[in-house]
Amino acid sequence: MLVLQDVSIATEGKEILSNVNLEFGPGIHFIVGPNGAGKSTLAHAIMSNPSYEVKGGISFNKQDLTDLATWERAQLGIFLSFQNPTPIEGLSNFRLIKEALAMDSTSSIMDKLSGFRGLAKDLNLPVGWDKKELNVQASGGEKKKNELIQLSMLNPQVAILDEPDSGLDVDAINDLIDQLQKFAASDKTIIVVSHYEKLLKSFQPTTVTVVANETTHQTTDSSTVDRVLADGFKDFA
């Protein structure tokens, strides 16, 4: 269970969100809101992005995360998929996985490579994807698929996906929905930031959080998604 209690988030002295109280248990959770409302900011604050000043309490499985660095939160099992992942020249897609799984001795490096290649093939990524440089000369869709591979390989307890649908074609969206359904079926927590109707309508969310007016509103009423898709965010202004 990921819990945010009276959290406020600021950057460069300017407060973006305040009075944030949220709980994310197993299941799929949607975060929606108008452009620039702070949805991505919220995702990054949970991961302790150093660009943001975060006050209040964030806990995961009753463990206080306040003093934990980003990599420590990730090692606890929290994963963030980026809206626009940054490229790293000279670092291959597989090397990232290898380094991230360095402490995992449950499978050999060859097994990990084989698993990586299998996922890349399932997602219709080109042969040799493991050797390609991370997010370099990759399309928006390829970057998103690569994030999905990382999610599958790292197998976290909580996955925060920031607009995972952007840049994906119709087939890739269907692959994404399949992957998320498999992931959700294994008692994991998935937090999806999205505006995309098809994605939002493919799941029965456990909660819906609307980020608007410099704060958050969380509800278990899944009809909120339909209301937002029909009427926008004016009710939350």
Binding site: P50, W71, Q75, G90, E99, A102
Partner: protein, 324 residues
Amino acid sequence: MNISYVLEHADEVLQKVEDSVAGDIQITPTGSTADFWTTKAKTFTPMFSEYGHFFKKRNMFGDMALNNTRIAGVSLSGQSTKTIPTRVCYTATTDVLDQHVLAYIEIEPHCNVLIDEEFFNDADFKIYKIVYVVREGATVNIRRKINVGGSHDTIQIIETEVIQHPSSIFNIHTQDGIQDYLQDIYFVEALQDTVTNITGRYFGKLNNNIHVITDIDHVGTNCKSNVDVKSVTNDESRFTFAGNLTVRQEAEGADAHLSNKNLQLVDTVTVITEPKLDISTKEIACTHGCTVSSIDKDQLYLLNTRGIDNNTSQQILTDAFLNG
């Protein structure tokens, strides 16, 4: 030991020389020797009166090598060597005070050779003037490793002069180990229809001093050159790069590119980079770019979000920078 100390106390510095290591070819201040099984290379002793003009005075430290008039000569030939490297080891000699080396290496016409150069840290102060003459149509690929073996904090001054005859290809990739003091200097004369690629990867730590100069002179038509030098500096190390590109009036069709990227891991290092272009004709393509940067915070954050700690992330990003 730093270079100013050595220069001021040159007479007093005792050259402690370690055991030499043999390669296919061994080059020392007293000459060159080839192991008996080596058939693809022959060694000889060029007369200074005949070959001395190849070793130009540059008003640099490398000129001290001219105190030695004994030239180590090597001639490489044969197509079969393009995948099997010839190992050339630069080692010290126990019975001389000054480790000054003059080496003349000739690649015979239309040959294709691969050379593994190794510079041993087996004396306190070593200076080299190395001349490569790459004959018509020949290709030479050199993998240069500096700081091999030995336990000395060696001061290495390596001045490499390359004379490229028409339609020749000269490729060199330098990988520096941790080096107390290094000058790695290249002068290339590209005559016509030549290809030159110089890549260098340097890593400075502690109070290392690394200085790299590349100077490519496009003399004739249709010469291509690419210089790609990267450095990573940490602690209180110092790295300087000077890249000179000259395109003469007659050198139409030149295609010259110069890049120097530097990654400084802390702000206590010193990095200086200076490109200099001297272009005397219009019918060319020429680019240059020099940058000095720190670890990218977004890249560090991305690795952190995958559970990789800061030290490991920094190591990964350093490797990526050098490999990219």
